[in-house]
């Protein structure tokens, strides 16, 4: 016969301090775990949501980042004439030839640490190729003028990026005329201006990448082989989404490794704590347990009951940990993505799956921590336990 659950609940209430400390210990582990996974997840989400799968990004063959790539002007015109490039009603190809550099900016007014801020010079069609880009303040830059717009991630994190401010880019001065968002992607960490304007102040008449919309979303492979086979080009062709996702691998893996390493070690400590708590609970209740056994409850039921008790404690800890982690959602931070050598701001992204993993993790700790003490309880010798008490 099963021992009713209410027995466990009442037992836990009997020792409020001990129960609370165990719950809190597990909750802390879960907060750390959920927080770190959400950080890694937020970073990956920022990179993955940067590109569209029906956009094609073209860089120099052999380059794995835009920084190390160069694309000449004549190569750019050849690519824009390919039939795989979508055109709008007027016949204008939906392609942008980008200048891409990273510049050094101080993170705060007082000087302080420096960051590499990406600057992208785009063609005027860029806003239609990347239609996730929307102005949140001000207006887009105008053709032929020394004006830039700043992604909200950068605008919020760096001084002197307000609409109306002047910023120094290479050898030139530019006026910030607007802020933009881009579905939380990496573009939000960039400064955008017109490619022809930015070429002049940075590296001269050469682009770093081309991005175009596919005429037919299914025709990526055809477009890829056509462009890569052209002997005049020597270019590498990537899906825009896959290209940016690929640049997130290293840091995502590092953050995940850190999350698992840190919380794995913490979890071992928490399991030790849970074993101790349950051990004490079992030895303090040896008379009760003997009584239960005498009344005819099977050892198996006693074991199940104690296992249930530790699982309940851990479940409470898991839920509390998830609740404590919730306020972290949306907190933004930034670091250097070493694969693109550029500063990227991203938000802690607490999603239901991350929370579910946190709770499952907590319950796992409860089961592992409760197993030995529960078995110990079930194997009590009745006569001895009763006499001892």
């Amino acid at each position: 016969m099963r021992i009713p659950l209410v027995y466990n609940l009442r037992s836990l209430r009997q020792r409020p301090a001990t129960s609370a400390a165990t719950v809190a210990g597990i909750a802390l582990v879960v907060v750390t775990f959920v927080g770190m996974l959400a950080l890694a997840d937020g970073f990956r989400a920022a990179m993955v949501s940067t590109g569209r799968s029906d956009n094609v990004l073209v860089v120099r063959r052999g380059s794995d980042s835009e920084l190390t790539s160069t694309v000449a002007r004549d190569q750019a015109s050849i690519v824009s004439a390919f039939p795989h490039v979508a055109t709008d009603a007027d016949g204008t190809p939906l392609i942008t030839s980008d200048v891409y550099v990273v510049i050094t900016r101080n993170r705060d007014v007082a000087g302080g640490s420096e960051a590499n801020v990406p600057v992208r010079g785009v063609g005027m069609a860029a806003f239609r190729v990347r239609d996730q880009v929307r102005m949140t303040e001000g207006r887009p830059f105008e053709r032929g003028r020394p004006e830039v717009i700043v992604g909200i991630g950068t605008a919020l994190r760096f001084p002197g990026m307000n609409v109306g401010d002047e910023i120094e880019l290479g050898a030139g001065r530019f006026t910030v005329v607007g802020h933009f968002e881009a579905d939380g992607g990496a573009f939000e960490s960039e400064i955008w201006g017109e490619n022809e304007q930015l070429m002049g102040v940075f590296r001269g008449p050469v682009f770093q990448s081309l991005t175009f919309r596919l005429e037919d979303p299914q025709s990526f492979d055809v477009a890829k082989s056509a462009i890569e086979a052209d002997p005049r080009l020597q270019l590498g062709v990537h899906r825009e989404s896959a290209f940016f996702a690929g640049q997130s691998e290293l840091l995502t893996n590092m953050l995940r490794f850190l999350a698992i390493f840190v919380t794995g070690i913490m979890a071992i400590g928490a399991v030790f704590g849970a074993i101790n708590t349950m051990d004490t609970m079992v030895s303090a209740r040896s008379r009760e347990i003997a009584l239960l056994l005498t009344l005819g409850f099977r050892p198996r039921s006693v074991m199940a009951s104690f296992l249930m008790e530790s699982t309940l404690l851990a479940l409470a800890g898991g839920i509390l940990g998830c609740l404590l982690a919730l306020p972290l959602n949306g907190v933004t931070t930034s670091t250097t993505n070493w694969q693109s050598f550029a500063e990227l701001s991203f938000s802690v992204n607490i999603t239901p799956p991350v929370l579910a993993i946190g709770v499952v993790f907590a319950v796992g700790m409860g089961i592992v921590g409760g197993f030995l003490p529960a078995r110990h309880a079930a194997k009590q010798v009745i006569a001895q336990a009763l006499r001892k008490a």
Binding site: A17, T18, A21, T22, A24, G25, L28, V29, V31, T32, M36, L39, R60, R61, G62, S63, D64, L67, T68, V101, V102, I103, T104, R107, G112, S113, E114, A115, N116, L169, G170, A171, F202, M254, V262, I265, M266, I268, G269, A270, F272, G273, I275, N276, T277, D279, T280, S283, A284, T333, S334, T335, T336, F341, E343
Partner: protein, 383 residues
């Protein structure tokens, strides 16, 4: 029986609990030391820079280069005793995950400015005299099992992208100073120039030897002023400041590591305090007996606190020993991410402080309760 004897006997009574508590403390301390060490190692990398060297780089950003023509004027600047330069090569060895730093240098002048790069004289000459030779750090050679005389291929990403660049390893250097990385590869700048038909003409940064470190700021200002309005403005910093700039790129990841470290310490405090409180509660009758046979309130207080101290210090010691073995002796550095990872002296001091706090937090309340215990009450309660 002595007081210490009682503490030891108490710890041995419930071996599993004592062991688990000590292990719990040890694990948390290990984790705390690991996180702190990552932070201190990163921030200390700035101190690795020599005071006798200045780094001149492009003011716009670190991926921008400076014209080679600057070398002559830099050498003529007052207070500068030597000039050399380096350029990031960025080659891929087999696959991108094998990442390590590669710099194209002018061997003779560069090595003269870096006494930290320690090479046997014959190997040094062999490296200098062959344009396709490579000089690699001991750590790097061990990582990939490279031998002297071996030829390795790097795939270019910036220079001749996608093509193989063969290098012959002619010299292996030791790091002459703690913290100076021994996982870098150096190659000939001239080899790189050759790939451009001798017309690259740019360097990522110049390194200047200066005679008097006290003049560093004045020299740096003089250089930056003289290039203020040229096509490529310069930024001149001491080597330490330059290195710290790279550390700054991690942003507030440091803040996260600190927060996690604190959460971990708080978690141990909770768990250990809980265990201590539990075992003290269990022993109320014993303490009453101890008092009955003549132990003073203060002696009982000391015994209970001593037990907490014993567990905390044993756990902390184990955690520290583990960290020293893994990082300082084993030289584990997170697969090359944190070169020179080591436990710093100030981390050990901080840990000593935490051990003390842990002892007080977990032992003080039960110890005071034990000291104040009313014998008659307690004995009646037991019976």
């Amino acid at each position: 029986m002595t007081r210490t004897g009682i503490v030891v006997a108490n710890l041995r009574r419930r071996k599993r609990r004592t062991l688990l508590t000590i292990m719990g403390v040890a694990i948390a301390m290990f984790l705390f030391i690991t996180l702190r060490s990552v932070l201190t190692t990163l921030s200390d990398s700035g101190e690795v820079g020599s005071e006798n060297r200045l780094i001149v780089s492009n003011k716009t950003g670190f991926t921008f280069t400076l014209p080679m023509a600057y070398a002559t004027r830099l050498a003529a600047t007052a207070g500068v005793s030597g000039v050399s330069w380096s350029q990031w090569f960025g080659g891929v060895y087999i696959e991108p995950r094998n990442f390590f730093a590669q710099f194209a240098i002018d061997p003779a002048t560069y090595l003269a400015l870096y006494p930290e790069i320690v090479i046997p004289e014959d190997q040094k000459q062999a490296f200098i005299n062959e344009q396709t030779a490579a000089l690699v750090g001991r750590g790097l050679a061990e990582r990939f099992g490279w031998q002297l005389g071996q030829t390795i291929n790097l795939q270019g990403t910036i220079f001749r992208p996608g093509e193989d660049w063969p290098f012959t390893i002619r010299a292996i250097y030791e790091s002459g100073r703690g913290g100076f990385p021994d996982n870098t590869m150096y190659l000939h700048y001239a080899y790189l120039e050759q790939a451009f038909g001798g017309e690259f003409g740019e360097a990522g940064s110049f390194v200047l030897g200066i005679e008097d470190p006290a003049q560093a700021a004045a020299i740096a200002a003089a250089i930056d002023d003289s290039y203020e309005n040229s096509a490529a403005s310069t930024k001149t910093q001491t080597e330490g400041a330059y290195n710290l700039g790279f550390v700054g790129l991690y942003g507030n990841i440091g803040f996260f590591l600190n927060t996690i470290g604190m959460a971990v310490v708080f978690a141990i405090l909770l768990v250990a305090a809980n265990t201590m409180a539990m075992s003290a509660r269990e022993r109320i009758p014993e303490i009453a007996v101890l008092k009955t046979v003549g132990f003073t309130d203060r002696a009982v207080f000391a015994i209970v606190l001593g037990e907490a101290f014993a567990m905390a210090i044993l756990g902390a010691g184990l955690g520290l020993a583990g960290a020293l073995v893994v990082f300082n002796l084993g030289e584990f550095n997170f697969f090359g991410f944190i070169p020179g990872l080591a436990v710093a002296g100030r981390t050990i001091l901080l840990m000593a402080g935490i051990t003390l706090i842990l002892t007080l937090a977990s032992g003080l309340v039960p110890a005071r309760a034990a000291g104040r215990l009313n014998v008659v009450e307690a004995l009646r309660h037991v019976a």
